[in-house]
Symmetry: C2
Subunit: 156 residues, 2 copies
Amino acid sequence: MEITLDKIDLQILNIIQANAKISNADLAKEVKMAPSAVLERVRKLEQKEVIKGYTTQIDPLAVKQTMLAFIFIRTSVGFACSTNAATLLAALPEVQEVHHIAGEDCFLIKVRTADSSSLMRLMRDELRKIPEVSSTKTTIVLETVKEQQQIIIPEK
Amino acid sequence: MEITLDKIDLQILNIIQANAKISNADLAKEVKMAPSAVLERVRKLEQKEVIKGYTTQIDPLAVKQTMLAFIFIRTSVGFACSTNAATLLAALPEVQEVHHIAGEDCFLIKVRTADSSSLMRLMRDELRKIPEVSSTKTTIVLETVKEQQQIIIPEK
DNA sequence: CTTGTGGCCGAATAAAATTCGGCGAAATTG
DNA sequence: CAATTTCGCCGAATTTTATTCGGCCACAAG
């Protein structure tokens, strides 16, 4: 089953990725179609998992999550880059992203915690528990200028 | 004006960050309150900008965005870390994140493009345009195991 | 004690989502 | 080429939901 998105699908995605809670009626107006037709398209995009979910962006500071860090992780298995380690990393709620990367290191993860001591605890208690992890290199974020996951959607 | 969130606010945030499109009626049931009261709380969380927005997560592959990279950027102005450069970087639609980081480099940015050639184009045409950028160090993502922006919200 | 403030409830109303029968274009089949 | 199926869309009917608003209660300030 091949996924093909037409111009209107892309228009819809473009609108709802910026505002997930736009009313279906308004969305229909924007793409100049009947609400029922648009709803049908959105449902199909959900089924095809082009739409992966709807999330609310929350200010991390408001819920006392002040620390953000990126950690490069090297594994002992060498170039194999254990998927087991990846799974364990991904299971940690503080870990927002786990990427398998090119280069000497194996993974790059993005971690958000309450403060520096909880980051330390995470590294000592959680990362050390993962056998394949041989070394880490941590980059602390001092200030975030921009942070969004909106992606570029082609016109056509 | 100090922001204080009570237990129910945190419950609400926890629910809606995982599912922005839950109906207000269902949300009210979950926190055991009247729909009108919950709506009032949500509106206030929006006003206080604890809630920063509602977004739809879209599969990047479905819209032909296959390349993901992290780029460390060093600036010539030294430790100053020009906010001008930060602003210019943040203005690029391919750039999803701009972080000011501790260490030798100044910025870490997260970039998503269609493919490797469009990443090259971005670096050649856009990054080079920014005068303060003196050098870059790019990390290519081969595979993403986890990617979410959900943050940990305390129980209380 | 009185006055205000804030948050909540619940019913009434307005708006929205959702369903569904039918239509027409395009593709498929015999 | 005609018959048939499929698909996406429309639009009205229906159901569900959001939203408004008056009133109530608890708490705090005067």
